[in-house]
Point group: C2
Chain length 135, copies 2
DNA sequence: ATATGTGCAAATGCTTTGCAACGCC
DNA sequence: GGCGTTGCAAAGCATTTGCACATAT
């Protein structure tokens, strides 16, 4: 599995040029406007495959949409994402992990797993209360 | 707004009898089998309304489905949910909040918001490595 | 050659919405 | 009586899938 097709390559290159989390659809449009011809279904399938392989990071937005981007850090980490521009900062939080484990342990839970994502406004967008149509 | 209709009451009662997180559809079915006649759309609309009012807790499952249940604690809190039985424990984690704020602040982010849910196996289901079809 | 990958369009599954009828206040 | 509510069915969305065709190895 995992052949080297034109589409797969194109998707990887597109991802390489991205810095923020993007949805499959956004990636697909991006590629389209870049002149690439790739089916939407393929984008979905490929993004999933890459995620399984660990080459991509997935983030499930509040509305359930999946956002992808290239992995920076390997291993477990979390994200701080700007609601306005999608700028993302990855961070490790060993203390948080420990605290969570402790709490879970207190309740007898094992085999833990968790989701932790922080959303906010990055420096550029703080206090920007402008009435812009937004994203 | 927020009138006292038969449907609204029925939904609240159904929720009162639930202990775990349930999807709108599950709640709808539950009611149907209880003999209640309520439209699915109404269930959705009501659950959202109740959530806005702060009377319900929402949890977005991994696949984007929204799960609801009555609020226990008021204010901000997180959940520890058993993957097997759905048993849920609410917990507060001021330290986590503080730590997250600190990290976000370090990066210049403001107007924060976050999602934090912990999944695991509760006491009853720990070590249950049985090859059962699962949920 | 042949297992994989791709494209398209149809199908899913959850959720939302338009609109006329309905019922609480 | 009037305005929030409801129901139903249609519409929306993101995502998935069936299937015939193309292609990497």
């Amino acid at each position: 599995m995992q052949r080297n097709t034109r589409q797969r390559t194109a998707i990887l290159e597109t991802l390489a040029r991205q810095d923020d989390f993007r949805s499959a659809q956004q990636i697909h449009e991006q590629m389209k406007s870049d002149g690439e011809t790739v089916g939407l279904a393929t984008v979905y399938r490929t993004l999933q495959a890459l995620t399984r392989t660990g080459r991509l990071d997935v983030l499930v937005a509040g509305d359930g949409e999946s956002l992808y981007r290239q992995c920076e850090a390997s291993g477990h980490h979390h994200h701080l994402v700007c609601r306005e521009c999608g700028r993302t900062v990855e961070f490790l939080a060993p203390k948080l992990e420990a605290a969570m484990s402790a709490i879970a342990g207190d309740h007898g839970f094992t085999d833990l797993d968790h989701t932790l994502e922080v959303f906010g406004l990055c420096t550029k967008h703080s206090r920007t209360d402008e009435t812009e149509p937004g994203r």
